[in-house]
């Protein structure tokens, strides 16, 4: 798919009045995450986790958003969500049990590790999890559909859309303080916002996007 916001890089704004010091610190720390570093997941879990992330948010880029590492950081630091469905164990236990159960399902169905499966096979297993069709012993009573909707999707997808690469993809203006926005009506953009490529006007959008960091 062609880029919707060609050439837009929200990081080009990092030194403009749209960003303040505390925001630069936060986002730069996120960009510095080592995609292979894991403190919470075991090496075996790590392979499964990366294979899950790859299906939940497929990424076709040289340096993808390090989803597995971001979720790993959340779990290692014990960052809670403030609530948990009473049918699920605490998040750390839920992830360990869920990944182990997924691995067991992969071996039972295909005789291979989950991470060694084809994309379509992994999709099929995840779909079965979403539909609550996985209920092997390894789940130990944890509802697979609930694990999928309350843990897998929120944790991975929230990590993705917290990353500047995702902001570029959807044309989000990104951090905005001290400078906010001026033009709020339909079809209006401030010069420091992403320009959308209308069919036939891609080059114009590209030019405008090259300037967002200079305004």
């Amino acid at each position: 798919m062609a880029e919707l916001y060609p050439g837009y890089d929200v990081m080009a704004k990092a030194r403009t009045p749209s960003w303040n010091e505390q925001t630069r610190r936060v986002v730069e720390a996120r960009l510095a995450i080592d995609p292979e570093h894991h403190r919470f997941f075991t090496d075996a879990e790590w392979l499964t986790m990366k294979a899950v992330c790859d299906r939940i948010v497929p990424q076709d880029r040289a340096h993808p958003v390090p989803l597995a590492a971001m979720v790993d950081g959340k779990l290692a630091d014990g960052e809670g969500d403030g609530y948990r469905n009473a049918s699920l164990p605490p998040q750390a236990d839920a992830w360990r049990r869920g990944l182990a159960a997924l691995e067991a399902e992969a071996r039972a169905r295909h005789g291979r590790c989950f991470h060694a499966l084809e994309a379509a096979e992994r999709n099929a297993l995840l779909t079965a999890m979403q539909q609550g069709l996985l209920a092997g012993q390894a789940w130990a009573g944890m509802p697979s559909a609930l694990f999928f909707s309350a843990r897998v999707l929120p944790d991975i997808v929230a990590a993705y859309y917290a990353h500047p690469l995702a902001w570029n993809e959807i044309g989000f203006g990104g951090p905005a303080s001290p400078r906010g926005y001026v033009r709020m009506d339909f079809d209006r953009r401030d010069p420091w916002e992403a320009a959308e490529a209308r069919p036939g006007h891609e080059a114009q959008a590209q030019r405008m996007n090259a300037r967002v960091g200079r305004t």
Binding site: N20, G82, G180, Y181, M184, A194
Partner: protein, 547 residues
């Protein structure tokens, strides 16, 4: 990424408190010793506790307000980042169950001095007058022991205190004074609501918001950065951090941050004697002549239940058995569509336009009412609406590609009080070794009928304003109320109209917990109005020697 660089140790100590208006700034604060018996110890410094602390101190009482959260200086502590700003939420575990387990954390909890108003969406609405007599006049729920005309005067007061920016003329309800500040400019998402309403022949209005449309003192006017629910980094938002708390401290109140109250103690006569709280690594005890619990609808009942003793085996103020019961949320369903034109709803406060039509022209299909507002979800929240539909993989990415064209309408609907919806104690314990809360919630048939009505109506309105490919977000709620309702007798409620517990005359409860019904509008303005009224009532009662 650590959740925050939240201060690990208290800031509001040694005779000073953080000054929210100045980077690195301080303001002098009177400090009490634990042994000093203060007139009022207030648990929680949010909408209820902060406004109470301010008014009680201004009435000349000695006040200590204790809050579990940190004391922020927004100008330096708040980043423009959804993930990082989760540090404002109550992130400690709570269990949820029932037919419709709630989502807690982000949109309905807060762990900060200033409470969840630090990250609220600033919508500041009055109750419809009839709601205060919902049982008598409208046939559902329960009556309030408060008169709407008196509440109207306290609404006036709070709107002035927060310099609410609102329309010159509000289309619904009895006359109200002009809002102190003018309404904000609409963004495209709000204009879609307006066009939809006009197409369907109902009224709409710019939303009355607690964010400045013009300067006020050292607070900047709103810059339309659109990150209101992450905490306002400009102080345009009139949260307690920049309104009630500086006033309270100036009037002699002490605010203690990172002070988690675990238990309310009582003496041999059964009167409360102070609060046991955890701060700076240890448990301490603050003596007080009165205790006011203002921890919001989960922490308030949790504290009362956790304070059970031999004399009060079911928890404090619980002779009615109603502590924790009648938890009410508001239904928060939405319709979302794609607009041909760019909407870019991330700009400006999220809910710049509203219609209260269905609060004032109720349907025959259900009891109660609802409002709906325009929306401006940031990327993580926008993605959350997609994963609630079960989307992932390429379909998720395709839907999110429409982010700048996405537009939605979201309801705030009145759920009816039901005793089965409740807060109880779980077996698990938190980092303070206190039993955590279990929150049980299920919609009733009336709730479901209202949601169905709202979704159908909002779908028509969105389509009439150019929304295409509309889908419904059916699984979201907002706000928490009930769990320590006010009423007319010790049998039907936990507190009286003055927020004083029926069982223990020097124990008070003053926050969203006391609502007998929840109405179809966001509750913060009503919580503050009740708190200001309670402070005045306490002054009157004290003058009569009844405290």
């Amino acid at each position: 990424m650590p959740v925050s660089d939240a201060p690990e140790t208290p800031r509001a100590i040694n005779g000073r408190a953080p000054d929210a208006f100045r980077v690195g700034g301080w303001m002098p604060m009177r400090c009490f010793s634990d042994d000093e018996e203060v007139d009022f110890a207030i648990v929680g410094a949010g909408a209820g506790g902060a406004s109470l602390a301010c008014r009680l101190a201004e009435h000349g009482f000695s006040v200590v307000a204790l809050d579990a959260g940190p004391y922020w200086r927004p100008l330096e502590d708040f980043a423009s980042d959804e993930r990082h700003q989760a540090k404002l939420h109550w992130n400690d575990e709570r269990l949820v169950d029932g037919d419709n387990p709630l989502q807690l954390g982000s949109n309905n909890s807060g762990r900060s001095v200033g409470g969840s108003m630090v990250h609220f969406a600033m919508v500041s609405l009055r109750f419809r007058p009839e709601w205060f007599k919902a049982r008598t006049l409208l046939g559902y729920g329960a009556d309030w022991p408060l008169d709407w005309r008196e509440m109207w005067r306290y609404y006036d007061y709070v709107e002035q205190a927060l310099k609410i920016s609102g329309p010159v003329r509000y289309p619904w309800g009895p006359r109200r004074p002009r809002y102190p500040y003018r309404p904000h400019e609409l963004n495209a998402a709000a204009t879609v609501l307006a066009k939809g309403a006009e197409a369907l022949g109902i009224a709409w209005s710019p939303t009355p918001l607690a964010t400045l449309s013009a300067p006020r003192g050292l607070a900047h006017p709103c810059v339309y950065r659109g990150m209101c629910v992450l905490g306002c980094s400009t102080n345009a938002k009139q949260s307690p951090l920049v309104t009630w708390l500086p006033r309270a401290i100036k009037a002699g109140a002490e605010v203690r941050d990172l002070a988690m109250v675990g238990r309310i103690e009582h003496d041999r006569d059964g009167l409360v004697s102070g609060v046991r709280y955890h701060r700076d690594g240890g448990w301490r005890f603050q003596r007080a002549r009165n205790v006011i619990v203002a921890g919001y609808a989960i922490e308030t009942p949790r504290l009362l239940l956790n304070s059970a003793s031999q004399r009060y085996p079911d928890g404090l103020a619980n002779s009615s058995g109603l502590v924790g019961k009648n938890l009410m949320v508001q239904s928060n369903q939405a319709v979302w569509g794609v607009h041909e034109r760019e909407i870019r709803s991330y700009k400006g406060p999220p809910s710049l336009a509203i219609t209260e039509h269905w609060n004032y022209a109720p349907s025959a299909d259900f009891f109660g009412g609802y409002a709906y507002m325009s929306q401006g979800p940031l990327p993580v929240e926008a993605a959350a609406t997609q994963i609630r539909r079960g989307l992932w993989g390429q379909r998720l990415l395709d839907e999110m590609a429409n982010y700048n064209h996405r537009v939605g309408l979201k309801m705030v609907g009145e759920c009816l009080p039901q005793e089965r919806n409740q807060v109880t104690l779980a077996d698990e314990r938190d980092r303070f070794a206190l039993p955590i809360a279990r929150v049980t919630f299920s919609y009733c048939d009336n709730d479901k009928a209202m949601i169905a009505h709202a979704l159908a109506f909002m779908r028509r309105a969105l389509a009439a304003a150019g929304g295409r490919d509309i889908f419904e977000e059916t699984d979201d709620t907002c706000h928490l109320n009930g769990t320590a309702r006010m009423g007319f007798s010790a049998g039907d409620s936990v507190v009286d109209g003055d927020c004083r517990s029926w069982d223990i005359p020097n124990l008070w409860i003053c926050d969203g917990s006391v609502f007998p019904t929840v109405g179809g509008v966001n509750p913060s303005l009503t919580i503050q109005a009740i708190a200001c009224r309670t402070a005045d009532r306490i002054k009157t009662l004290a003058a009569r020697g009844e405290i």
